[in-house]
Amino acid sequence: MKNLLKLSALAGISFAMIVFGACSGKKDENGKMSGGGSFTATVNGTAYTATGSVSGSGETRVVTLTATDANTATATSTATH
């Protein structure tokens, strides 16, 4: 009877192992990313400023590009990976 109880406990421990995820750990975050930069260019006499930035963490990356001309008209493009 005692052995049966112990065997049941052992089987219980084995069944509890079903919660295990993997043998290599999943990191909380694959490194955070942030940063950006800008440059200016003149096309047909009009000056444009383009800025780019990247942010996100884990497996998500948000890349934003913004172009602004002298009249402050802005075009933004965002891509998420």
């Binding site: 112990k6 052992l10 421990i13 079903i18 919660v19 295990f20 995820g21 993997a22 043998c23 750990g25």
Partner: protein
């Protein structure tokens, strides 16, 4: 490959966890079959102690090598997020194994010989779980049997998921099943007790040396290991642990025997 097998009461059952359970249950069943005709009580104590010590050791061993992932100590308990290391498990399971056997006045080396082929078999089953889960994955290769994980990449990073990779988990499973068969056959040739054909502990030593040699050589094909251990850019922590096992186990066994 197939990281989530099914859902149970709303919880996703992952391949690694399912095969971990399967490997332990198969190991328990095989050990009980081996023990037919013997008093089971001490051996059940042995299984409980070594399984618990092995799990704790495997988790601590992984945390020791990947300290950056464990800045929050509670992360140690997040078992669903993965992280186990075989050699860490061995480092705690072996002392627990010796302590329980000594307490019950059972022979350490002869019992280790009984257990070794079963451990090899269970570990082989576990590696199939690794393959389905996508952990322990290999480096890119052009070999015809390479595998591409695709969308169901599990632990394989997205950058590698579209590339053909060495199925290192299946290489290891095949090696462990072959090793298990060889150890079972060697044990079967010595009816009753292993000592009749081999010095006690021979099969266990053969298992540890064969597995450590395999890991040292074949872990070069793995892409999931962080290299640069001890300042050597080619060395992974598992390979260092395998080298320690290769050097320390024969010395330790000789000393214990003496």
């Amino acid at each position: 490959m197939h990281p989530e097998l099914f859902t149970l009461f709303g919880f996703p059952v992952r391949a690694y966890g399912a095969f971990m359970t399967l490997a332990h249950l198969a190991g328990i069943a095989l050990f009980l079959r081996t023990l037919r005709g013997r008093e089971l009580g001490p051996y059940i104590d042995l299984m409980i102690a070594t399984v618990i010590a092995g799990l704790v050791g495997a988790r601590l061993g992984y945390a020791l090598v990947h300290r950056d992932e464990f800045t929050n100590p509670w992360r140690l308990l997040a078992l669903d997020r993965g992280g186990l290391a075989f050699f860490g498990g061995l480092a705690l399971a072996f002392p627990a194994f010796c302590l329980v056997l000594r307490r019950h006045r059972l022979p350490i080396f002869a019992t280790a010989d009984l257990v070794s082929p079963i451990v090899a078999f269970s570990l082989g089953l576990l590696r199939i779980g690794c393959f389905l889960q996508g952990c322990c994955y290999g480096a890119p290769t052009e070999l015809p049997w390479a595998v591409v994980y695709g969308d169901a990449h599990g632990e394989v990073p997205p950058a590698l998921s579209r590339m053909p990779l060495h199925p290192t988990q299946l290489y290891e499973a095949a090696f462990l099943f072959a090793l298990s068969c060889a150890l079972f056959r060697a044990r079967a040739r010595a009816p009753g007790h292993v000592q009749e054909n081999f010095a006690p502990g021979s099969l266990a030593t053969a298992f540890i040396l064969a597995y450590a040699s395999y890991r040292f050589v074949m872990d070069f094909l793995r892409a999931d290991l962080e290299r640069g251990f001890l300042g050597l850019d080619w060395l992974a922590p598992t390979q260092a642990a395998a080298l320690v096992a290769l050097l320390a186990v024969p010395v330790a066994i000789r000393k214990i025997r003496a």
